[in-house]
């Protein structure tokens, strides 16, 4: 479910990065996970990513959205299309208001899981994306920001 669709957002970014499109989606049900996958796939195509990069980004989005849904009690995914000189990119911002991640190092380790996955979600998503930022505090939720750029 699209919650917002704002185009041509100009934000000050140190690298000359501009956000051209920003769309937000609820992540609160199984159906939402499917919706998010479709939306991110469409965004990667819009960005001009090749098939393998599309698959990387959609898979990372699926991992992060499921984390927010299962561990964070639901949240939102914002998909931003980016431009900077010579490249386009996509940024995923996954935000939940759940319990937060008490031990970030453990949560990033492959094989560590507190849910029903394989424990590759966070670490795997980080490897599939080029820039990865995790912001979490116990009781204050978790926000993951992950970006991948097209190669010219």
């Amino acid at each position: 479910m699209t919650m917002s669709d704002e185009r041509i957002l100009h934000r000050a970014r140190p690298t000359g990065t501009q956000v051209t499109v920003s769309r937000s989606y609820d992540v609160r049900s199984d159906d939402d996970l499917l919706t998010v996958r479709h939306a991110v796939r469409a965004a990667t195509v819009e960005c001009g990513f090749g098939l393998v990069d599309q698959t990387r980004v959609v898979t990372a989005a699926s991992e992060l959205a499921r984390n927010a849904y299962i561990h964070g009690g639901g949240g939102t995914l914002t998909v931003e299309l980016l431009t900077r000189p010579g490249a386009g990119g996509i940024r995923l911002v996954i935000k939940d208001e759940g319990p937060g991640i008490p031990d970030i190092a453990a949560a990033m380790t492959d094989g560590w899981t507190s849910g029903n996955g394989l424990g590759h979600g966070l670490g795997g998503a980080r490897r599939l994306m080029e820039e990865f930022h995790l912001d979490t505090r116990p009781g204050a939720g978790t926000t993951v920001t992950a970006t991948r750029w097209t190669t010219p």
Partner: protein
């Protein structure tokens, strides 16, 4: 006891082999229901082999990977050999980068190769040979 929720995923029987495929639209709950349904069919049909075509799966994330691994183990415990066939190259690359090896899951390039591995063979000669897929 509890009858599985129908997933809409067809499971066909060819002799002692069950043939099925996962669709891209499969959500988490349906994936679990599919596991229940398939294991029940293995017992009901006395299947010795299961071919799962995944050529339509555009991504495999850690949840789907876990489902495939569990399905393989459950089927083996029931005496059936599972072959997962037709993984897309982009999916294989992404799985490796995710750090997932699908340990214990047998794979084949495509459904035909998978069926051959499960004991199905092309007619060595004759007009019907191209009909096996």
């Amino acid at each position: 006891m509890n009858s599985p929720r129908p997933t809409g995923v067809p499971i066909l029987r060819l002799g002692d082999v069950l043939v099925t495929g996962l669709l891209n639209e499969l959500d988490d709950r349906s994936a679990v229901a599919f596991t229940d349904e398939l294991t029940e069919r293995i017992v009901a049909d006395s299947a010795r082999g299961v071919l799962i075509d995944i050529s339509r799966l555009e991504i495999i994330d850690s949840f789907v990977a876990r489902t495939l691994m569990e399905l393989t183990t459950m089927s083996r415990l029931l005496g059936a050999r599972v072959i997962v066939a037709g993984m897309r190259p982009a999916v294989a690359i992404t799985l490796v980068e995710l750090g997932i090896q699908l340990t214990g899951v047998e794979t084949a390039l495509n459904a035909e190769q998978g069926l051959i591995a499960l004991g199905w063979q092309r007619t060595p000669e004759g007009p019907g040979r191209d009909h096996v897929r």
